[in-house]
Amino acid sequence: MIQRKKHNNVLPGFGPSLGFTIFYLSVIVLIPLSALVFRAAGLTWGEFIDTVTAPRVLASYKVTFGSAIIAACINSVFGVIVAWVLVRYRFPGRRIVDALVDLPFALPTAVAGITLATIYSPNGWIGKILEPHGIKIAFTPLGIILAMTFIGLPFVVRTVQPVIEEIEVELEEAAVCLGANRLQTILRVIVPLLLPSVITGFALSFARGVGEYGSIIFIAGNMPMVSEITPLLIITKLEQFDYRGATAIACVMLLASFSMLLVINLLQRWTRRFAE
């Protein structure tokens, strides 16, 4: 609702702040993105469809979105556990662990990619252990999931952490007094309260995974049709001066990401219906 009354808020009014928001989003987000669409509009409809549905491109969508969803799922489970431990337990080195969680935010993605590739390659520290069991991570699609998990972890931990802090121990005690066992307390009391924040964390982690480039190209092996991600394909097109093709693929990615995030947001709102 548009506010009519004056001087009923401490902060500057609705008008100036909305104006600023629209201007700011336009400069930072909307204008660059619409330039992208304009560039792609240079193609005819047929050319556009051909470009974005080429088999190699389709395979890359599958690798990118599939890996990002799997990585976000992994993060949603383990990120919640990490957040739970950090909030609920006091142990020596807790602050250090807490700081470690943010490291994937700060580390240059190329560094992360090279490090992961080194450790998980068949002669790396961890790869050496896995190799005899027939598990190869570096230079396979598994490597993509690993890199996406690495860079997405802080998103889940940092969105879930404050929500766990708000869940009073008394809620668990109340559930136990009422006869609930441990599993019932978790499923009926804790999970529903955490769910909205877990979904937000999932969405952020997923979005980050879809957009990731730097760390993945070092560990993925980048085999066309198998372990080639869409962002890499776009770069390849750019290097071949196929600007229109690159922007066409980018448009598809943009649309797919936006609609998935929209769905996740609606889902998140539904799980929080009790707070309204």
């Binding site: 005690e173 109340a174 559930a175 007094c177 006869g179 066992n181 309260l193 009790f274």
Partner: protein, 344 residues
């Protein structure tokens, strides 16, 4: 169901939260654990519930030792100070929770659950709010829902931890009258923790006064108010004035000449214009404070520079027509004298 607490001890690091506490709560009584913060009253309540384990001693429910049994098996209803309602569930689902988590064999059918919950919501007079979420309720309503939720599992004992502590004064007064009425209807053995003496005096059948991990006195509200066992209980149950003195005439229990302290409740102090007898003390009116139905007068006992507070009804105050700085006579109506915690 009766509760027996035998020599319970609880230690938090170097701090003894409960020190050899023994207490018997007869079946069907509403008992108040009264004491200042840090007196161990909440710890005792949580040990009865099984939410906290004791370091020594036993808890018996109806003569059966429950010390080792899990919270889930004790069948206690627990009401928390800050309600602890499940905010993602409607009022109905909150109350139904205890029934829904039962093992399949003993779980009531959906229609039975509906009937039970509706009955409980009627008991707490909140049927119309069944489909609301806790966030949409007032504090008093939330606490009533919390109570209905605790009663849904048909507990043998109801334990309330400062149930009205987070509510404003008017709602608090209303709810405690309601709790008393509810208890008269369902007669469940109930223990509630409070630091508000007025609340304990109004609601409880029996008051257990606690201090520093020990029970100072246990008795009916009249007993603890009229016959406090020691200066702590006297002090805690109402405003008192202290007069330091010396025993002039011994009565066998104490020696003449020993130091003693006499305690007079502020509403037991009478103010007069002319001294009736030799027990009246001369004083100067220092301060007058009107507190709704009563008036608090601060007096300076002449020569002693000891301040004494008297509480008068508005009528008495108006009849006297006291003025600031006026010289008057003060006479204690009822004096309790303690020599080192021993009352004469």
């Amino acid at each position: 169901m009766s509760i027996e607490i035998e020599h319970v001890h609880k230690q938090f690091g170097t701090f003894a939260a409960l020190n050899d506490v023994s207490l018997t709560i007869p079946s069907g009584e509403l008992v108040a654990l009264l004491g200042p913060s840090g007196s161990g009253k909440t710890t005792l309540l949580r040990i009865i519930a099984g939410l906290e384990s004791s370091d020594g001693g036993r808890i018996l429910f109806n003569g059966t030792d429950t010390t080792e049994s899990h919270v889930r098996e004790r069948k206690v209803g627990f009401v928390f100070q800050h309600y602890a309602l499940f905010r993602h569930m409607t009022v109905f689902e909150n109350v139904a929770f205890g029934l829904r988590v039962r093992p399949r064999a003993t779980r009531p059918s959906n229609s039975e659950i509906k009937a039970k919950v509706t009955e409980l919501l009627r008991l707490v007079q909140l049927e119309v709010l069944a489909e609301r979420y806790p966030a949409q309720l007032s504090g008093g309503q939330r606490q009533r829902i919390a109570l209905a939720r605790a009663l849904a599992v048909e507990p043998q004992v109801l334990l309330l931890d400062e149930p009205f502590g987070a509510l404003d004064a008017q709602v608090r007064a209303e709810l405690r009258r309601w709790l008393r009425k509810l208890h008269d209807e369902i007669h469940i053995t109930s223990v509630f923790v409070t630091h508000d003496q007025e609340e304990a005096l109004e609601v409880a059948d029996r008051i257990v006064v606690m201090n520093k991990g020990k029970i100072e006195q246990s008795g009916t509200p009249d007993q603890v108010y009229e016959h406090p066992a020691n200066p702590f209980v006297l002090n805690f149950l109402g405003d008192v004035n202290l007069f330091h003195g010396r025993i002039l005439q011994a009565n066998g229990h104490v020696d003449t000449g020993e130091n003693a302290v006499s305690y007079v409740r502020s509403h037991d102090i009478e103010i007069e214009r002319t001294p009736l007898d030799s027990t009246a003390l001369q004083a100067v009116v220092k301060h007058i404070q009107k507190l709704g139905p009563s008036v608090r007068v601060t007096l300076d006992i002449a020569g002693n520079n000891d301040f004494v507070e008297a509480e008068l009804t508005r009528d008495v105050f108006h009849n006297l027509g006291l003025q600031h700085g006026e010289r008057v006579y003060v006479r204690p109506r009822q004096v309790r004298v303690f020599v080192e915690d021993y009352q004469i």
